[in-house]
Each structure stands twice: as C-alpha cells, then as structure tokens.
C-alpha cells in the first residue's frame, strides 16, 4: 500500500518494478495486440466455464424450485399404479393412520389458451396442504372460493388480475377458469417461486381432468421410521411409499452425467485458451528480447524483470477473468434455454429458470482464470528471466532449443496418452475419471504435434522443393525453423480440431444409430395417439374399427407409463403386437435370439440397454415390479437397444400387462397398411371414424421419424455451441500467432526481397507456410479425433446414459476437420502477407 502514496507531495523514488511496468506500459500502448490476445483468451476460456456453470446451476436451481413447489416440506410420497390413487387412501392415512402431515395432490400439464409452453396445474386440498407445502392457499377455502366457479390461483395477479379468465386445456379437455388469487398470497413468498404453476382446489382439478375420485399422489411429512411402516401397512398393494429425498437426489444424479459432459467441454475451452496465453506471453517475451537485454544492461536484475512481467500477467488474468465472467453470464442466458430443453427431453419437465450467479461460481471462475494464466505464462516468463546482457541472441538459438524440447516432450506425451487409456479402461463408473482420461488422451498426442510437424517438414522439404519449386521449399523450411513460435499454437489447433472432430464423429455415430434404430423399430406405417392426457385411452370400439379399416393389414397397440420400482422411476411399455412388430426390438442380448414366443410367457420382460447398463442387469435376472398383486418378480429374457428413454424402459407383452397391472386401455396404435395404400387416405378415414377421440395425433412413420431426429438434434445443440467456441479460441490463437510470427519476420522478408524474391513469391510463401501448418495440424488431429470419438462412444456415453452405439466414421467429417484447420491457418497468413507487401525493404533492413 505504501506505493499508493506516490501522488502525495513527498516524492519518493520509483521502485524498479514501477519503472519496468511503466516501460512495458509504454510498449503496450504502441502495440497492444499480444496483451489483448492474452486477455481475450482468458476471457473466452473463463466465459465458457461460467456460461455452462451458470446455465447448468440455474437449471438445477429451477429443478429444486419446482420440487419445492411440488413437494414442499414433504419427505415421502404415496404413488399409485397406472391411474393414480383412490382418494379414500388419503382418508385412511389421515384417520386410521393418524398421520397429520398429509396432503392429497392431483397434478397435470396444462396449456393456457393462446400461450406458448405448458404450465403445471396442481389440484390441492388447501385445508391439508399447508401441512406439507407453504403455498399459503388457506384463503381459498374461507375466502370467496365458493362464489367463483372454476377458480385458479396464479403466480402473479398483476399479470393476470383476479377475476380475469383463463382457458386451460389438457388434451381435448378445456375449461374456463377464473383467477381467484395469487399463489403464496399469504406467505408472502415471491411470485417467481411459483412461476409456471397454477393452483386450484382438488375438486376442480379432478373434474377438469376427468379424474373424479382419483389422486395423483399423496404427500407426507413423516417423522421417525415408525411412521413409514404405519403408512405402508395402510396402503393397498397397488400403491407404494417413496422417499422423496432419495427420489430427488436420484433425479439430480440422472442429470449429473449430462452436466459433467458439458462442464468437461467448457473446461477444454479453458485448456485451449491456456495454450493461447502461453503463446502470447512467449511472444511478448520474444518481442521484448532486445528491450529486456537492454534493461539488463542498464542494471535491472532478472528478479525485477520477472516480477514486473508477473504483475503484467496478473493484470491479464484478472481483467480476462472479470470480462470472462461478464461474457459468460451473457452466454448463459442463451445457453440456459438449450440446457433446459435438453434436460426436458432427456430427463424431466423443467421450466426455464432464472439465471443465478453465486459467489462460489465467481470465486471458482476467477481462480481458474488466474491459475490457468499463471500456469500458461510461467514458462515464457521464466525464460525471460534467463536473458543475459549478451543475448541480443538470434532466434536460431531458440529454435534449436525447441527442437530438443519437442523431442523431450515425447516420453511425457506417451505417458499422458497411456495413462489416459488406462483411466478410460478401468471398469469404474465414474464419469469424472473418464473425463480425466479423455483429457490426458487428448493432451498426449496433441503435445507431440510440433515434433510431428518438424519431422513431416524434414521429410517433405526435398520432395516439395522438387515438385513445387523454391517458394514451396522455403515455406516448408520456414515452418520447421519457426516452430518456436507456432509450435504451441499448432498444439492448440490440433487439440481443438481433434476435440471438435471427436465430438462430431460421436454425435454422427449416435445420430446414425438412432436413425437406424428408428428405421428398425418403427415398422408400422401410421401411428395414432389420443391427444387427451387426462384420458389418453383408445376405446375398444375405436380399436376394432381401426382393424377393420380398408387398406389396413394389421394393427398393433401399446401403452406406456411411468412406474416406480426398486430401480427408481422408469417407464413401462406394454405392447399388443404381432411377430412383425416384435421384430422391431433390436435385441442385443442374447444375440440373434428370437424371443417372440418367450415374450408372451408369464412374467417375461425385455429391458433396454440403458436400464441394463445403469443397473447392471443381465438376461436371466429377476426384476421386481409393483403390480396389482403387490411386488412380483419378472424375468428378463432379453436386452434391446432403445434410445427413447434414458431412465430405461421395461417392456412386456399385453397379456402380462393385463394380468398384472390395472388396465385402463391402450394409448397408441400402429397401423400396418396394405401395399399400395395411401397413408393420407387412411389418416382421413381414421379421423372420420365415429368412435375416434375428439383430438388425435396421427403421424406417418416418416413424420414421427423426422420429429424424433429433430428432438435428437436439439439435444445436441448445446454441445455444438461449446465445440465451436473451442475451435474459435484455437483458430483465433493460431491466426494471431501466425500474424505475430510474420510481423517478426519483417527483417527476413526484407532480406529475401533484397536478394531477388518477388513480393508475390513472398506472399505465396507466407500463405503456403501457414496453410501447410494448418494442414499438418489437421492431419495430426485426425487420429486423435478418432480416438476421442471412440472413447466418447465406448466409455463416456455408456457411463453417462447407458446407451451404446455403432461407431461410424464419416469421411466428410474428416475432410471438414482438415479443411477447417487448413483454411483457418491460411486465413491467418493473409494479413501478414498484405503487410509484407506494403513494407518497403528499407524498413525491414533497418529493423534488423
């Protein structure tokens, strides 16, 4: 703090650090490029991390908010079978069980007329609800509730005033509700806690949803263990008690894989940025070589120089981190939509949360920014500390050092690669370990890039000289000799390109596997579902009329529902199908088996790979499912590939379903048409059936497939954004380091001009050199990218989602990666070439 008194009248001689910093600052003002680049690199790296962090934390907060709204203080929940619970169970718990903190709920997704998005309608009993939720709706009952028919409480009565009406729809059911008040009216909670929710009395919700007498679930706040057994003793076999704490953390865990994937990608961006920080710092040091040795000559010690450079780097780190946090926060505002959408698709419905920036996140981001900068800048700054007075040294000295260094890196790179492979190969389910492995796997080969480039140049130079003349040969030789400048940028580029390629190949393989699966799975020509969630069932008459429609060869039916079994929350699919439809299941285990006959045996089920991988199930295992008869073990007869549910899916025959589960009917039908029948005609005929539900979705095979693929693409949007961010950082870095390099070569270019090289030749040489660097980096990135994609497919995806897929190498993607690398590098040569063009020989010679 003493230095802060420098502006006071009592003058004090400036310290060495201050003098040096002033000198550096003057220099920065003249050419702020490297300083800006370094700051920019830190900024982008930090921004990627903050953006993802904020977005996924906010999504998580939103999940917790929604849970708080729905579950409140409840610790347990009684859930029923297919069609919820008989409401008399509630009375039994309350009276016979003497369980006071108990509240019945019926819940539905609804739409408000003319508005986008869905809302969650909670039907509650206000007189018991306050015991498990702080929704403050006591006034509903004792206020003017009974005077308003179809009352509904909204999050904000300023937007929707009391007395205004809302038309709610759930499937084909529609009802005009009147706003009766605000959720949280009495507890004074802020309305953003309730956004996305509508609350009404349980009886209105039951009537609206056509579920009179039924409850969605019963929430309970249970005390000691004894109370759980009291509840369980009172429940019929079709209902079960679940622990909400466990369920919520299981749900959070489900999204953990997804969030870890994103976080890993965002950290990779910082890693790439670190290479940039290294190269810009190294460039600073190199550019100041003359200045630094002169400073040494006038008496500044190496310590002082290192300290001043350190202070400068700290400014870069802090400024970059601060700007990165701001940019990250901005980025997160559009990332959150992508993150939320993906969670919606993969896991559970989640409203779009508001962005929250916690102190912890700020500290973490700043720490990462500073640490990254410190690590990346340490080597070049240490080098600056070694500069001697005599070392107005030539670069040739350094180049030879780099060549030794790039060779020395080899064992470390091999070690990094090997440990990466080892980490990935461990049977551990830990995703963190998998990503650590991936990082090492990437870093190893990427750090060999300069060595590979060097050798490629050695091999290429004579051949190129013979084939393309002196200019090309000079370009190749130059690459080799300039590796001290470009080496690190080349590493960064190949790292970014290989990551981008690896992820692209994985997504492509995934996409093709999903497409292949869809083609295999979706055998029917038309798919019909009722658009009525309240009663989504297709009547028997409708079903038989469908079968007898003209042009319909066969009909299959299915019903899908969510159940809670010992494995947690997952889907159950009951299919009423024929052998053709059954062949749609891509049986992975036992391989090649025809399970049709066994599928129809009692208590036989198929499970999806996701479920099997997640819970380590194998064929022959028993799976206990909650049925009408209580818990019944089902035998797993096969495991099949399925991408429709990440929680996993248990499939059973219609016969088994009817026997063991409450059967309110089927929810979807698949029509197999006679050859030559026009699907649109049949669609029309279906709609015209007198037994058809008021609202129907009829989708052709093609439409449904397109929709699914569309959903697939949307889930990977966020990954795409991150991938491009990483490439952007790397390309910016490469372009910059090439510009810097070419600027440094003004003198050399001048000499070349002086000995007779034309400006065109020199420009061509510069572009050729940069393009070739890009090409080489791109080529090196290919095997790395392939390895990465393989690891993502075989390890990360299986660990994250339980999905397996068929690897596919699309040559177009490989070409695109090489192309991207080459073109961006070539573009990096344009500006130096132009500059060279306009620089008179004399300038360059004078600089020398």
């Amino acid at each position: 703090m003493a230095s802060c008194t420098s502006h006071l009248p009592t003058e004090r001689p400036a310290t060495a650090t201050e003098l040096l910093l002033k000198t550096f600052l003057r220099e920065q003002k003249k050419s702020p490029g490297p300083f800006m680049l370094a700051t920019l690199s830190v900024m982008i790296g930090v921004a990627a991390i903050v953006g993802i962090d904020v977005a996924s934390q906010s999504a998580l907060k939103e999940f917790e908010r929604a849970n708080r709204m729905v579950s409140g203080l409840a610790t347990h929940r009684v859930v029923g079978g297919v069609s919820g619970l008989d409401e008399r169970i509630y009375a039994r718990l309350r009276i016979e069980g003497g369980l006071r903190n108990t509240a019945p709920v019926i819940e539905a997704e609804v739409r408000i007329d003319h508005e986008p998005g869905t809302w969650r309608l909670l039907g509650i009993d206000p007189l018991s609800d306050y015991r498990v939720r702080e929704s403050g709706l006591l006034s509903m009952e004792h206020g003017d509730q009974s005077d308003i028919p179809w009352p509904v409480h909204v999050p904000d009565t300023e937007i929707r005033p009391v007395g205004s009406t809302l038309t709610l729809s759930s499937g084909s059911r529609q009802q005009v509700f009147t706003v009766a008040g605000r959720i949280f009216e009495e507890t004074g909670e802020p309305e953003n806690d309730a956004h996305g929710f509508l609350v009404t009395d349980i009886m209105w919700a039951q009537e609206f949803l056509g579920q009179s007498g039924r409850l969605g679930h019963i929430d309970l706040k249970l005390g000691p263990q004894a109370e759980s057994s009291t509840v369980e003793a009172l429940l019929p076999s079709s209902a079960r008690l679940i622990d909400l704490e466990t369920r919520h953390s299981a749900q959070k865990d489900m999204t953990r894989a997804f969030r870890t994937n994103l976080a890993a990608l965002s950290h990779l961006t910082l890693l790439v940025a670190m290479f940039l920080i290294y190269s810009s710092t190294a460039f600073q040091v190199a550019r100041r070589r003359n200045l630094l040795s002169r400073l040494r000559a006038v008496g500044f010690t190496n310590r002082e120089i290192v300290r001043a450079l350190g202070v400068e780097l700290t400014v870069v780190a802090l400024a970059g981190s601060a700007a990165g946090i701001a940019l990250g926060f901005l980025l997160s505002s559009f990332m959150i939509a992508l993150v939320t959408e993906t969670i919606d698709i993969l896991y559970f419905d989640l409203g779009e949360g508001s962005l929250t920036l916690s102190a912890e996140m700020l500290v973490k981001a700043t720490a990462l920014g500073v640490l990254g900068t410190a690590i990346a800048g340490a080597v070049p700054i240490r080098e600056a500390g070694r500069i001697t007075v005599q070392a107005l040294s030539k670069r040739s000295f350094e180049e030879s050092r780099v060549m030794t260094l790039s060779r020395r890196v080899l064992p470390a790179a091999a070690l990094s690669f090997a440990s990466g492979v080892a980490l990935l190969a461990t049977g551990s389910q830990s995703l963190g370990l998998a990503f650590a492995g991936l990082f090492l796997l990437l870093l190893g080969p990427a750090s060999c890039t300069p060595w590979l480039v060097l050798h490629a140049c050695n091999i290429l130079a004579p051949a190129v000289g013979r084939a393309a003349g002196l200019v090309a040969k000079t370009a190749v030789i130059n690459i080799r000799s300039h590796l001290s400048r470009t080496g690190v940028s080349v590493i960064a580029l190949s790292l970014a390109v290989s990551t981008s390629l690896g992820v692209a190949l994985m997504i492509d393989s995934f996409r093709h596997s999903v497409e292949h699966w869809l083609n295999h799975y979706m055998r029917a020509d038309l798919y019909i579902t009722s658009a009525v969630p309240g009663s989504p069932y297709l009547s028997d008459t409708f079903r038989s009329q469908l079968a007898s429609l003209e042009g319909v060869r066969a009909v299959g039916f299915s019903r899908r529902l969510s159940i809670h079994s010992d494995l947690g929350l997952h889907d159950l699919l009951a299919v009423d199908t024929n052998p053709t439809g059954f062949r749609g299941f891509m049986i992975k285990s036992p391989p090649g088996a025809d399970l049709w006959n066994r599928f129809n045996e009692p208590r036989a089920v198929l499970v999806t790979e996701a479920l099997a991988n997640r819970h380590r199930l194998v064929v022959g295992d028993d799976l206990v499912l909650p049925t009408l008869e209580g818990e019944v073990p089902f035998r797993i007869i096969g495991i099949y590939r399925d991408y429709s549910s990440e929680h996993g899916l248990v499939t059973l025959s219609w016969g088994n379903y009817v026997r063991y589960f409450e059967d309110p009917g089927v929810t979807s039908a698949g029509l197999y048409l006679e050859p030559g029948t026009s699907p649109p005609d049949v669609k029309e005929a279906v709609r015209n059936l007198d037994s058809a539900p008021a609202e129907l979705f009829i989708r052709s095979n093609r439409e449904l497939r397109d929709r699914t693929m569309d959903v697939f693409d949307r889930t990977f949007e966020i990954t795409g954004v991150l991938r491009w961010l990483t490439v952007l950082v790397a390309v910016t870095g490469l372009v910059f380091s090439l510009i810097a390099l070419q600027l440094e070569r003004t003198a050399l270019n001048a000499r070349l001009k002086a000995i007779g090289f034309s400006r065109t030749q020199l420009a061509a040489q510069i572009i050729a050199e940069t393009s070739l660097t890009g090409l080489l980096a791109g080529l090196i990135a290919i095997p790395i990218g392939l390895t990465l994609s393989l690891s993502l497919i075989e390890v990360v995806n299986v660990r994250s989602f339980g999905w397996t897929m068929t690897s596919r190498i699309d040559p177009v993607l490989l070409m695109a990666a090489i192309g991207m690398s080459t073109v961006s590098a070539a573009a990096g040569g344009i500006y130096p070439a132009i500059r060279m063009w306009h620089t008179p020989i004399s300038n360059g010679l004078r600089d020398d």
């Binding site: 201050e18 003497g98 006591l138 009974s146 009886m203 009179s212 700290t314 916690s358």
Partner: protein, 384 residues
Amino acid sequence: MACAMTRIAAIMLCVLIAVWAISYRFTARDVQPPADPFLSEMLSDKAEARHYDRAAPDVLIRFPADHGAHESFRHEWWYFTGNLRTRDDREFGYQLTFFRFAHPRKPDIENAWNNSQTWLGHLAVSDIASGRFHTDQELSRQSLGLAGVEATPFRVWLHGWSATDFGHMDENGLSLELFAEGDGFGIDLEVRSAGPPVLQGENGYSPKSHSGTPASHYYSYPAMTTSGQIQIGGMSHDVAGSTWMDREWSSGILQPGQSGWDWFALRLDDGSRIMAFQIRQEEGEPYRHAVLIRPDSRKQHIEVVAMKPVRRWRSPATGIEYPIGWELEFSAPDGSISIAVESLMPDQEVDLMFRYYEGAVGLTGLYGNLGISGRGYMEMTGYR
C-alpha cells in the same frame, strides 16, 4: 503502477462483492407470516348469513338429536375446556373444540370434495407449572369421512381427533372419550356429565345484543368429571378434574358495531358455576349476560353489575394486548358476588387459523360475606 494494481484489485473486489450481493438479494426471501383472521370476524353476522337459518326463540332443544349437526346454520361448535390436576397437584388447563362452518353455495358438481361443510379443530394445553402453552389445529372438509358428527351414538371427529360416547349416553348425560394429538402434546380424557345439560338463555335461546338478535342456540354441561392423560413431549401425566362443555349453533353472533366478547366459565369450589359474558360494542355499553348454576343444576339469572379489566398482558407473538385480570361483580337474589379472575399463566393466546385468548383462570372473591375461590376458563376475542 503498483498503486494502479492495488486499485484494480480493489475495484475487482468491489465488483465481486456487488455481484454477490445482487445475486444474494435475488435469492433471499422476505417471508411474512400469514395474516390471521379473527374468530370474531368469522362469527359476525354478515350479509351472507341470510342463506342460513337463524336462531329462533320458539325452537325447543331436543336430546340426543341436538348433539348432532345443524347444517342449516352457518356455524356451531362442540367446546370442551377443563381444569385438571395430577395427583401431585401439577395443574393443567385444556381446550378441545370442534368447529363446523358452512359455505353459502355449493358448486353444481358431483365430487366427494364438493362439500359445503368445513371442520376446524383446536387443541390447547396450558401447562401451568412450566408456563408453556401448547396449541395445534386440524382442518378438513366434511368429505370422505374425514370429519363429521353423529348424534346417536354421539361422536364428533376431525381426522384423528374425536369426542366419542362410550356407551353411557342417556337423555340427561353424556360420557365421552376425548382424544386429540397435536404436535408434541395430546390429550386422552374421559369426561362424564354430572347432571343434565343446562339450557342457556331462554330454553337454550341465547341473545347476543340488547335488541335480542342475533342469538344462538346454546346449552352446556358445566360440570363433567374428568380423568385421563395429558401427554407433553413424550411424558404422560395422569390427571383428574372438571370439564365444561358448551354447544352452540347460530348463523351470526356479532352485529355490526360489536367488536368481540369476553366470556367466563367459572367453577366455584362449592360446586356452583357461573357463566358470564359481555359482547363489546365499538361505541356504547356492552351487552352482558350471566347465570349462576347451582350444584343441583338449577339455573339462576344474575345481574352483571361490572366487568372490569384490571391487568393486561401484551402477547409477544402478535403484539395484541389482552386483559388477563378481571374484576366481575354480579348481583344475585341472595347477595352480591364479586370475583377477581386471573389467568393462571399469561400466555394462553391461541394463534392458529383464528386468533383469540382461551385460558385457564383462577378466581377468588366474596359471595355475600362468604369467601369463594375456584377455577375456570376465560375466552376473549376481537382484541387487536
């Protein structure tokens, strides 16, 4: 330069603090307690009361039918208060009330939850020795058998709370098991009426103002011998004592301009009882009424000469000031009665869905020249 660095660092720190503060501001909540309505408001003679029957002087109270519900009236209650002691003289007071409220209109839909009757239960235990006051409530619609009342055999219940006849009911008497469990406390008591019910007012028609309306139908069992257990925090106390049961139904008790009431149920050591109340006016003289019930259940109207609050207590929870010490003066045919009534412990404010004061009291005084003492209960509503 180092100065500049310090400044930059200081600015960054400020920015970090500011962002943290802002994010904290957005996540912190200002939770406010719900604004509780007052019991007196709930029971006021509102315009909507026209949907219901009104108490009428010519209606005769009949047993056991009138132990049951009167759904055509807006509200009614089954009200038990009692003063109890353990064998080693530890004193308790308790209150168990079942309130029934009706709603004017019922939507035209067939649904089990669509019921125009709502039940509210209040349970309170005053642990005089420790000064702790325990309260809890239950609420329910009269749906799915969650709450209700049956006249024969008599049973009123709300979730797990109940007052159930255990088989000795006759025309004159009631023997009930009272069972209720609150959060960390509860009661399980047997109460037996010692005599026939006392019809308050004129044959059970009890006016609440100078003009004679509104009024309620009102009878009491003022002396029910009581025994059983009181549980507090896992400890069970065997207790015995006396319970006063009130039954009242009407469609409005307070007129506009009436602000609340002070009601006393006093048990003198000689076995007589006094029931006295005043309905306070916002302006003017309160409406007052009192009866003396002899040990043989004979009822005698007595003149209220004065009801004077002499000591006040401010509730730390609600900030409301209640008069917890009173001087009551009555004029009976056989002499004047003056009684000093004191809360046995100050904090007996019921602050649940409705807010009022319901507390065990002690009393001393003179009946003519004879010294008297006793125990009882006091209820005060409409204080703000």
